[in-house]
Subunit: 266 residues, 2 copies
DNA sequence: GAGTGGTCTAGACCACTTG
DNA sequence: AAGTGGTCTAGACCACTCA
């Protein structure tokens, strides 16, 4: 069905081109052009596989220089809406392979945003040596670590346990931090940069230890979130969050970059 | 005198400036400059709050035009590594507020990538009216929907139930799709665009129905993923995935855009 | 070989913020 | 008032790919 459309358009040439939208907004020209073309694609006026006019033709149509058109088109291509290759023209991308993503937020902010009263308690805090009781595979044996255990509460009810190891070789300042006002996760977020982070999310049945700390019955479903953070190939921190299933959920919205762009004007 | 003050500031500023890296890669100039400055920031040679030389000075230092420097710096600012304002100079951003994200993938691809043998079975498939037994709050009462129930298996073992509603007003083609070779989630991903998607992830204890479908004991912890997909303000599909906790985990890596850029050369 | 996108330059004007 | 970033133009050259 797409093939027939393409053939027809190629035969007719410019005849099937959608009309050139007027540019009258206060935004920069390249933003208006980008938005106009994105809107054509999302509305279905330009369909997957369609060929776009080349930069020079578009420049004439919109009455701007080729550079300005190039900036708009290149940004759309970077966002995955268009496919471009030298000499091979510009096409509307076939599949929008934007992947679904789930933001993982700080629990304190989640509780506060939901209108709850957030509090936390430091349950454990000690400097330990890697391999001495606790083992962190990513870190060298014998390296100094700070071990933290922290309970997070929503209106006085426990919702999450945080079990964390921090590499003191990279974050020495944390040894002197009392965490009187700022919970460890927020302190780290504000003080330590990261390059990559790996997450694993599971559902687990609470064991006796977890049940006691969270005040729930053993066997209750809990959400387990593990995160390992690395900066410039050196491990920074490893953390394990355990949350009561009935009291906690991860949620969030993904928005395609194209939709974001469109919403700025509509 | 103003001139003297400016000269003094410039003298101090230039004295603490890190050396200008050589540009010798095969990449475009603006990519090399962008990478060089990003590396300075990540290595700590430029610290949070530091002021950068202005575009003209950088252009002279690197021996390129101001436009080329602008492109590099503007991209870094777009990625959040720099803060720029007119007349207010360019500064290294204080907090890297890159948020952690978890990609949510298709289960068939996860199983295959992990080396398992993926299969699925359509358990239910019927056209229903909204409000008639099934209720989809986002969709108008009386609208036609396709209800699907699908079991996903890894080497013959059930790992996930998929319960889905599809808005036939937007995706009429799906009424004729037999899903003989392609599971519903993949078909939808390849055929239907989306603008926004909302996710909620929970841990739940399996009820009797779920336990029977998944072949597990009631009470076993399961991961619940709900997704509601919207395109141009119209609901497209709503889906509920239920996965056995012991057999399924969400995992993925987040990489800061800056680190991505750096890794291209290192 | 010809056409397309990718990059770069030199110069210009404007909007905004600071001193 | 002056300096900064944001944008735009006209023109140029190159790399890549297609006919």
């Amino acid at each position: 069905m797409i093939g027939a459309t393409v053939r027809a358009k190629l035969a007719e040439g410019q005849a099937a081109e959608p009309p050139v939208p007027a540019l009258d907004g206060p935004d920069p020209l390249f933003v208006q052009i980008k938005r106009a073309i994105a809107r054509q694609i999302l509305r279905g006026e330009r369909r997957a596989g369609d060929r776009l006019p080349n930069e020079e033709q578009l420049a004439v149509q919109y009455g701007v220089s080729r550079q300005t058109v190039h900036k708009a088109i290149a940004l759309l291509a970077r966002e995955g809406l268009l496919i471009r290759r030298r000499r091979a023209d510009t096409f509307v991308a076939l599949g929008r392979q934007d992947s679904f993503v789930l933001p993982i937020e700080d629990i304190g902010e989640m509780v506060t945003r939901a209108g709850g009263r957030y509090a936390y308690r430091i349950l454990a805090r000690e400097i330990v040596t890697n391999g001495d009781g606790v083992h962190w595979p990513d870190l060298a044996q014998g390296a100094a670590m700070l071990r933290l255990e922290c309970l997070h509460l929503d209106n006085g009810t426990p919702v999450q346990i945080e079990r964390r190891l921090v590499n003191l070789g990279i974050v020495p300042d944390i040894a002197d931090e009392p965490f009187a006002d700022t919970p460890p996760s927020r302190w780290l977020r504000d003080h330590v940069p990261w390059s990559t982070a790996e997450h694993t999310v599971r559902a687990v049945n609470a064991d006796a230890n977890m049940a006691a700390q969270l005040g729930i019955a053993p066997g209750t479903a809990c959400l387990s979130i593990e995160r390992r953070t690395v900066h410039l190939n050196r491990p920074v921190t490893q953390v394990h969050f355990l949350s009561v299933g009935e009291r906690f959920a991860l949620s969030g919205a993904s928005i395609t970059s194209t939709a974001t762009e469109l919403n700025r004007s509509e």
